[in-house]
Symmetry: C2
Subunit: 401 residues, 2 copies
């Protein structure tokens, strides 16, 4: 069986970021830049005051000196003259420093009287002055390509004078849940059937990865319907199926899509929960076939689909949110499948992150998956570990998972 | 001056979560539940097979036994009969266990021939059978109130048969940037002026907190315009201003909004970057006045606005993403203002999180803020610390900040 790392590498290898589109700055949050964004101006554009006070010549800046206030320069209203000896100009945070001045007297250190001001403290040349370009200069890179924009980036790109942004188009991901036994929430449930959770859980995961999900109608276990449903995936950036991927008589995905030209790369991976996992290509559309079991579908979705959508979205090397934690309880040795144990996290007073696996790891228990804070990663043949040992975990409380 | 903790408590105290609205399950991702969501069915509804194979009586389950296959039960198509002695029923993952059967023979342990099957391994009663209600039972709480829904929750609520969700309405947050010296990106820039970054950075932060930003036109430093702009905030859940909050001559927010009935709770906080920070109420609308400096606005936004919007959004006690890290370089003693040092994070091979403050901490440097991974929290009068000391940090690489 294929290892998890090799399967992921083979899924990611053919994927390319979507082309760029233009969006307004106000819609740029969490989008991924398609090119480096350069500053369109120098910031600050000229030397500015960092405080409210008075501009003066440092040569006049000894304590007790009285200066004549010859002008006012509110922010946005520069004073056009030149500050001469014995002169000062009233200014405010963000005001342009007038020519001739090279020091700031803070308002709280000044005694104003009529059109004069007296220094209660000495001033220091350059102090409280923000030099032109101190933050950034025209044509400097503000944000590299491939960055998912946070609120701070949006602020920086605004300051760099960008009303529009070039970002990768959100990858469109078709999601096809299969099975005679499943129904959408609120729809009539077949005898002995269950409500489908995979389609909408995977759609949310696609959103979390920066994609745009397209949930197709549920396909019953019927060759023709399944093949027709797959046609709906044409023009998508990725097709994801759930169910029908294992080796039983009723596993139709491979054969039904085979009639539509599915080229299969592999169909089992040494992973738990999971194992039946198809990777291939249906015409131009890359395809990932996840297991039908909801817990397996979600875990395999995190391990394989999340990075695939991130790569399509332009996040080239986005790693899974893996971190270290200390075991709160012992673990048995692992077999030949890479395991992902559902677990809770707690932080000790000294900051140590403690992870404890649920006693029950049955892959049908969706409620435990939703309650889990993390997945403990267990390599194939990993030895038994005592409480206190260090393990790698995927944090599920991040990324909207 | 007010402490950061007291200021935050006074900002949060009067805020209440918005009322509920109904959204489709497919739009529930990242929304906050307004009530506990109970399971509408029992999952699994009946005992189901966890594997492909055959249902039989455990009493018939010794190795070498040959059984007559009397029926087939694909998932979604239960077999209605009763399994008698010497009989087996073919089934698949998700199939309902027929009456009479209490054991599963795995497909890989079975030799099928005509309408018989022979056990190559003994079976164990109950093994590979998922009992009714093993995941959850009708009326059990699937998701509590006040939870921001992740992809796994969406799957669980789907499985619990919920096509609609009751979630808190996204709080509407009016954002009003003020100042003669600022212009929106792409608009003409006043002499000596700068491009406004606060409005759109704060709008993104509001989105990150689960709110819906309403960016008002920039208000020049003009009493009448400012007061009129504030009228636009009627009916909003929160008004946020930036700029015009300090003690200089051109700080109009307090006086202009005072004419519109602003009741001020406080207007300075012992925080850096920041300090001028208004909290009050304009008629029915709570108001937070952030500093105009972009770095101060963003840091005060994270410390005060983020939890405020989260509380309005129904996340009652959402803490800031504070974690512990080890200093990569020494820090000087702090003065009387609670400081937030912009810093980078790195993870050592042993998993230790190392945080290192940028040498420059000038609050005009928006690019450094965007490049920071974390803010180091420095309590008022905190002593100097050597490299290797443990500090608290706010992680900025989470939450879309």
């Amino acid at each position: 069986m294929l290892s998890v790392a090799e399967a992921r590498a083979r899924i990611l290898a053919p994927l390319r970021a979507t082309p760029a589109e233009v969006v307004p700055l106000a819609e740029g949050w969490q989008r991924v830049t398609a090119a480096p964004v350069l500053a369109r101006l120098t910031q600050p554009p000229r030397a500015l005051s960092a405080m409210d006070g008075y501009a003066l010549r440092a040569a006049d800046g000894t304590q007790g000196t009285t200066l004549r206030v010859v002008g006012r320069a509110p922010a946005g209203h520069p004073w056009d003259g030149r500050v001469g000896p014995g002169e000062a100009v009233r200014l405010f945070t963000g005001s342009v420093i007038p020519e001739g001045a090279d020091a700031i007297l803070l308002q709280e250190d000044a005694t104003a009287e009529g059109d004069t001001v007296t220094l209660r403290e000495a001033v220091q040349a350059g102090r409280w002055i923000r030099q032109a370009g101190q933050d950034f200069a025209t044509d400097q890179v503000l944000v590299p390509a491939g960055r998912r924009l946070g609120a701070r980036d949006i602020g920086l790109l605004a300051a760099g004078n960008h009303p529009w942004l070039q970002v990768h188009r959100r990858p469109r991901v078709a999601i096809l849940a299969t099975g005679d036994e499943i129904a959408l929430p609120g729809d009539p449930i077949p005898p002995g059937g269950i409500v489908s959770s995979n389609a909408h859980a995977l759609a949310a995961l696609v959103r979390a990865a920066g994609g745009e999900p397209v949930v197709l109608p549920i396909a019953p276990d019927d060759r023709a319907t399944l093949a027709a449903a797959a046609d709906a995936a044409r023009g998508m950036d990725l097709l994801v199926t759930s169910g029908g991927a294992s080796v039983g008589d009723h596993d139709l995905v491979r054969s039904a899509l085979g009639e539509r030209g599915l080229e299969i790369d592999f169909w089992t991976v040494a992973i738990r929960p999971g194992k039946p996992l198809i990777h291939g290509r249906l015409g131009e559309v890359p395809m990932i076939g996840l297991p039908g079991n909801p817990v397996s579908a979600m875990v395999c979705g995190i391990v394989f689909l999340l990075p695939a959508v991130q790569r399509l979205a332009g996040l080239e090397g986005a790693p899974l949110p893996v971190t270290q934690a200390v075991l709160g309880a012992a673990l048995p040795a692992n077999d030949r499948r890479f395991d992902h144990l559902r677990a809770t996290l707690a932080t000790e007073p000294d900051g140590t992150l403690v992870v404890t696996a649920f006693p029950a790891q049955d892959s049908s228990m969706l409620r435990l998956l939703a309650q889990a804070d993390a997945l403990i990663l267990r390599e194939p043949q990993a030895p038994a570990l005592p409480a206190g040992a260090t393990v790698q975990v995927i944090r599920l409380d991040t990324l909207g998972l």
